[in-house]
Symmetry: C3
Subunit: 357 residues, 3 copies
């Protein structure tokens, strides 16, 4: 939910490095879907499939690929190389993120040793522990709990009821959605006759710049050392990241994926939802793992598209599935062959009996 701005087509085109065709002085107020966009709204099209819809759109302005050609009903068109990207930039400009005036709410509880930047916002019922630092232009929304010795950079949005355990470090321009939990103890125990002893979980967590974590995602602290979420990485809701994981830069992980301890995911990997990683697996840069896949402990996942439980290259998975689909036919063929071999045996036996008569 954001506050809306009004901007001219020319302004927007400049932002996205696009070429204006038509009336660039027009004012745009809102982004909209292609099929519902109306006056004062801007929409985008990037697939030929929707060019017809686009040509008849009532939107005041359309963002189109450079090869779109032809006539549009809209009174202005912006040509760009990547319309979806341009639309995202325009959307951010028309709907700037919520701003809060710098303040510390009187119902917040701030340690006297905490260092809150004078340009930060601290909402009601927030707790900040000893020696923690909150950077400028960071919003800490209601109910957030920040432990001792935590560092949060500048320009962050910490949504309600997030919990940052002691010693955790969060970079700049990080977005943590509601209920995110960073730095809970990793899941490590040693068994003896009496039961389980906790293995020490005294490491930390480092969240680098430009990371966004979805609602209720949990990143556990390292046993020793650190758990890391690399710069520009985006995690969806309810992702579990175990202790000592090292998630690289610009990694994308969809909802409800679970990552066991000491997993390494290299830069730019793409991971689907509900995937499960055994401990000590390593995903190389260039790997794409489909939703619901399962990766056995210690596995190295090479570049390419992977699928299934346990994972295999998508091509092999499809081939195996094709074989599976032919199982009924194979059984039919087997039955037929048994019958024919039996007949052959009978005929040969009969032949030889005839001869030996």
């Amino acid at each position: 939910m954001t506050n809306s701005q009004k901007l001219s087509v020319n302004d927007l085109a400049e932002m996205v490095g696009g070429r204006v065709i038509g009336d660039g002085s027009q004012v745009v107020e809102r982004i909209a879907n292609l099929d519902t966009a109306d006056e004062s709204e801007i929409a985008y099209v990037d697939s030929k499939k929707f060019f017809d819809t686009a040509r008849n759109s009532k939107a005041s302005c359309l963002i189109v690929p450079v090869d779109a050609g032809g006539e549009f009903k809209s009174s202005a068109v912006i040509e760009v190389a990547n319309p979806k990207l341009a639309f995202s930039i325009v959307g951010a400009a028309l709907n700037p993120a919520k701003r809060r005036d710098a303040a510390i709410h009187p119902l917040a509880s701030i340690s006297p040793t905490a260092d809150i930047d004078s340009l930060a916002y601290i909402g009601p019922h927030v707790a900040v522990g000893d020696y923690s630092h909150i950077g400028p232009a960071t919003r800490v929304e209601a109910g957030v709990v920040i432990g001792d010795n935590v560092s949060v950079g500048s320009g962050c949005v910490i949504h309600p009821n997030v919990v940052l355990y002691d010693g955790v470090s969060v970079g700049n321009n990080v977005i943590l959605h509601a209920g995110v939990c960073i730095g809970a103890d990793g899941f490590g125990y040693v068994r003896d006759r009496m039961g389980y002893h906790k293995f020490p979980q005294i490491g930390t967590v480092v969240i680098e710049d430009d990371v966004e974590l979805g609602a209720h995602t949990c990143v556990d602290r390292a046993a020793l050392g650190r758990t890391r979420i690399g710069r520009g990485t985006k995690l969806d809701n309810m992702v579990h990241v175990g202790h000592n994981c090292d998630i690289g830069e610009r990694v994308v992980i969809a909802a409800q994926t679970g990552i066991s301890g000491s997993v390494v995911i290299e830069d730019d990997a793409v991971i689907g939802g509900q995937v499960g990683f055994g401990d000590h697996t390593r995903v190389l840069s260039g790997a794409i793992i489909g939703s619901k896949a399962g990766i056995l402990p210690g596995k190295i996942v090479r570049p390419g598209v992977w699928w299934g439980i346990p994972i295999q290259p998508l091509d092999e998975y499809k081939r195996l599935n094709a074989h599976l689909g032919r199982l009924p036919q194979m059984r039919g063929e087997l039955k037929d062959l048994r019958q024919r071999v039996k007949e052959l045996e009978d005929r040969i036996n009969k032949n030889q009996q005839d001869k030996s008569k």
Copy 2:
């Protein structure tokens, strides 16, 4: 946890439209399981398998199907068409939901522009943002965070630490369990050379009347437009609902199921736990999807029972599994046939050599 009431068998029978056999003036205080029910307690039986247990129950009152017949030790019996439903109604009557006197706790933080009905309860450490509305007879428990421009209807129970982002709309008689998160940004990005740009997530979420969401369930806001949970729909714990989903009325979804963006689930569908939906799938009314199933993006799921990853009709799944179970036997048969064909070939070759001598 509820406060208990005392009611007579006659009163209860009237509530559920049942016929009393025995002493209707008796007082019932508690609901109980059939096998442990004792004096002042009421239990139910709906399966012939448990009729013997029921006949010997010490419960003061039993709810039984109309065709139960025979003798019961209980001094009163209520005959109804659907004993489990009647028991649920009786249970609600004997254990009315917790009530809070209307009040705004002094440790709550309420925007001066918020509109809190005089009959609502607002607990400690609750935050309510600008221009938000809370309806009559709604309980907002401790630690709940309600953003700006949120609307919550009447008769709702918002359990502790729920988060409603800006602009979200919640109907009447909705129950949101602890930690529910409504309206976090959907998971949408556009990639360029530098990394990921956020695709605008400026839509909203609409939760209709009589919905119940389990603990920690997350419903993301739409990119544009709205994400919807239809009237009377029930979601279990930790369900993830992505942006722009449209979940119909009276849908049931078990725990930890994950629903990607733009999925449509029509009225009355039944979905198991840990199911994963690819984006843009559509589940038609009448479909039942088994636990742990996986649905590929764009799939249309027709009425019937579905199972597996990727989903297939349960019958086909069972047939395939039967084929799989016979794989060892098939290999045995193949081996046997190879041997027999070899022998046939040898005999024929020998025959022909003999002849050609």
Copy 3:
């Protein structure tokens, strides 16, 4: 995150019942990984694979197995039967759990009828309801919400934003990580023509001594009776435990596993991550269930290692997988046999035609 202590090698050896070789008077300040350990640090080795690394470690002290033999560069070595266990004990001694002075924060909201032990710590923005009890030396961190009639024992750590619903009981020395939710309503409804009626969820939850629950784990209250987590049991993050489950003692369950209603898991069972249990299953003591497994409702899981969806003994699963891997070869063999049988048939037919000429 913990405060660090300094202790001598002799002190540490005594704690773990180990034998000191070398300079026992040395002071150790920190635990460390074998490969990075340096002066004033202690590390452990328990696998021959790492003996070489260990012999060259710069750690001031090493914990080694009794049969390690040979020379170590470290100036002190502690020989023990179970090095990892000893290291855990040493780690706990060097990093004692955070302590809070007994206090009730002025921004907490405590019912006048609640009974808070004078040695308990209650953080800011905590709510405690009527007639609830908090035991001595228990820490209740910021934002925790405790309902009415809740009992929490001694020596517990209740991390931020945990929610304990009315009537829940928590034993001694229990650790509940951030966002844990105990006692939300179970997921039970009865369908009639109009929609779903809530089946009564008026039972409770009992968490026994020495339990640890990971961040965001949810344990639902029983419909009637109780849901139980047995003594010494450890659950990872985001585990879902349905109503009326009975989880025994010293059970270990990894992250994101989902347990439907009325499941029984006996003592000492070990369960992987993302496992799904159908309702009314029973896992016998001695069973080990691999990650991502699926268990059909009502199944009894016997001792041994189990795997797959639906689960089967690991050996059978491997055998079936081996058969599956040979499917392409089987199809090849079938094709070959069809060809050879065809040839045999042709030859025999030709033979007989020749003879009948």
